[in-house]
């Protein structure tokens, strides 16, 4: 059969194991750092650089192979499935933190404040330790952990950020239409806009965090409200960064003319990821900021 009909199976892989070594070094370094060891942070940074370089080389190889026509339709399907299920695993990761928010807001804080079900496990904690505690949200708990704080409102920067991310979803789709219609100009402009909006979002979020820490007394240590607020929005912000970096690579490859209407897995994967990040944000806006 011709090359095009065959499923490409690489003979060996050099980058994955080296990237793994880099990631392991990063985490071992981070752990040492947390344990107060002075070599920790250096080890962590070195490991992280190794990790990124190896991933970069790996992706560069994939891109070269794809350009030289080594991937047939079947390979493309495998990659799409891989990306889909990877995103599903990310959904589950966020679900844990949303779940923790739901549980604390609706169950544990209520029990601590005696408004929950009478047989709830936190009730005796209320009776014996904090009989005066009233269940309200937002809260930093009966111990007033982290001191007084002001909760984050929904209709300042966060609302603006919602608009930014939603429009970046639109520009991303617009770029995709450009790609399909072989309109290179529209593809590149769309991607530039998407990446730009993404980084603008991150910038606004950084501002929001700055205000929280310096003006509102709201920190990661502000009890359960601070914990859920910063962990959810923080992991999301991290994903926006990653997504924007992926999109930048896709932009670079578009500019080099890599993608065709039939063959543009990298673009699709990046777009899926971006829409996923978008949807998570909507969840955050509703459950963290508004409610």
């Amino acid at each position: 059969m011709s090359t095009h009909d065959s499923y490409y199976i690489p003979h060996k892989a050099v980058w994955p194991v080296l990237a793994t070594g880099g990631l392991m070094m990063t985490l071992a370094g981070f752990a040492n750092h947390l344990n107060g060891s002075s070599i920790g942070s250096g080890m962590m940074l070195t490991g992280f650089v190794i990790f990124l370089v190896m991933l970069g080389l790996w992706f560069a190889l994939q891109s070269t192979e794809s350009e030289s026509g080594m991937y047939n339709h079947g390979v493309g399907i495998s990659y799409r499935m891989g990306m889909m299920w990877f995103i599903f695993s990310e959904v589950m990761f966020f679900a844990v933190f949303f779940g923790a928010l739901w549980y604390t807001r609706n169950l544990s804080v209520a029990w601590l404040g005696e408004t929950g079900l009478p047989s709830g496990p936190g009730r005796s904690t209320h009776d014996t330790l904090w009989p005066a505690f009233q269940a309200v949200w937002p809260t930093n708990g009966p111990g007033k952990v982290g001191g007084d704080f002001e909760p984050m409102g929904a209709f300042g920067l966060p609302f603006l950020n919602t608009l930014l991310l939603l429009s970046s979803g639109v520009t991303c789709t617009w770029a995709h239409h450009g790609l399909l219609a072989k309109n290179r100009d529209q593809l590149i402009k769309g991607l530039i806009a998407t990446v730009g909006l993404g980084f603008l979002f991150v910038g606004f979020q950084a501002t929001e965090y700055y205000e929280a820490y310096h003006e509102m007394g709201l920190t990661l240590g502000s009890g359960i409200y601070g914990s859920t607020f910063f962990m959810l929005t923080g992991f999301h912000g991290f994903h926006v960064c990653v997504g924007a970096i992926i999109l930048s690579v896709v932009l670079f490859r578009s500019w080099k003319g890599h993608f065709t209407p039939e063959n543009h897995f990298a673009f699709e994967a990046a777009a899926w990821y971006w829409h996923f990040v978008d949807v998570v944000w909507l969840g955050l806006f509703v459950f963290v900021y508004m409610m």
Binding site: Y7, I9, A28, L34, M81, G122
Partner: protein, 538 residues
Amino acid sequence: MTAVVAEHDDHHDHHDHGPEKGVLRWIFTTNHKDIGTLYLVFGLIMFFVGGAMALVIRSELFEPGLQFVDPNFFNSMTTMHALVMVFGAVMPAFVGLANWMIPMMIGAPDMALPRMNNMSFWMLVAGVLLLASTLFMEGGAPSGGWTFYPPLVFQNGKSFPFAIFSVHLLGISSIMGAINVIATIFNMRAPGMTLMKMPLFVWTWLITAFLLIAIMPVFAGAVTMLLTDKFFDTSFFDAAGGGDPVLYQHIFWFFGHPEVYVMILPTFGVASTIIPVFARKPLFGYASMVYATGAIAFLSFIVWAHHMFTVGMPVAGELYFMYATMLIAIPTGVKVFNWTATMWKGSMTFETPMLFSIAFVVLFTMGGFTGLMMSVAPVDFQYHDTYFIVAHFHYTLVPASIFILMAAGYFWLPKWTGNMYNEKIGRLHFWLSAVSVNILFFPQHFLGLAGMPRRIPDYAIQFADWNMVSSIGAFIYGFSQLLFVYIVIDTIRGGTGEKVSDEVWEDASKHSLEWTVPSPAPYHTFSTPPARIPTEHF
């Protein structure tokens, strides 16, 4: 489903289709058989590492009183034994089988994403190395139990962040492995290999892969919260800040219960593959086996708090989790019924793989029954955190998952190596294992019912006799596993000297595709899809 044909690299300068030479072959390999071998060997080594830890535990418990190790080290041993066995031995061994067998069973040239396959193996090694390094740290290895419950877990010393990051790496490894399994099964089947013609091993792994992708991120999230609670001032599990330590248990067991099914579903799959071959009959109720597997997987997500009956839950929760848990017995019962019915009136022979499989059916059923006992919430107050539950899960893991892994080894070694193992020593291995595993774990039911708590280095005098019996069983069981290592090495080096046929076992090629390729299986199989799909197994 696409028709797939492998193309062996005429882009590069390789001339032959065989493996590279030297150790780099193993480090950079993308071949599903090489990676399968790596996983299997790694799993076997970890089985002995975890086993050594178990023998430390059983030595200390041989008699009441503290004799060999200090209590903190004892607790490290129970914790590390569980982590090493679950994440280092059983799961990797099944991933190894998946790598070796799934492409050969569905007529595919390799796994769908070979580079990621390589990475997921090395991520596993990295995770286990981080975990193992904690044994040598100030404060010792993690000692709060494999469940990492807060606030106890925060008392661990320097090991704490290493254990957490180890979980992250193991999680990444499992997720990548699972994605690969799904992509392979959905995308790489040979023409004609419809979903309902796949061997059950492939089916059970498909469903296991979904479980893994859904739960490993949950575990990663849970330990991330532990990390930030300890080092970054968050209050997820701290009531003073409005959090709740019980929240951790909910998240952990949302992962933990499906996790035990990750270890048992592929076990079911291998048993369903072996039993028909030696009963010389098609598997009884193929479709019901598939549906039962799916039902068990679904139920596994909605029963987690049966691990938390005594922790404090509203009564409605206790009742719900009690009834939901009982439901699992139904699809599980379907499976046991089908295995039995497959053997019914079969012309059975009792080679080593079959012996292990039959023992699995009997002894796993016992583990299932004790599970059913503990699912009754009010009674579980008596069983919880005693040796009864230790007996329960060891019956579902050792004479089930481990026995079936051994059975799989005996079953496929001839295909992998082209040589026949020594049947006499194989049977000796079986009988020693089957008898000693019961000496080891059966008395633990009595200990638990009499009230002996789990995870303690010392105990009241009335528990002495059965502990001694159990420890004796442990040593016999542990040392008899060395026979398996001997047999594996011996078989690789020529075995009985008899060259095995492609089919190895009588009429096996009617059941599944791997028996249609030469023994030993060549480095690349099904570069062109098979012409005929076996249908005997359903």
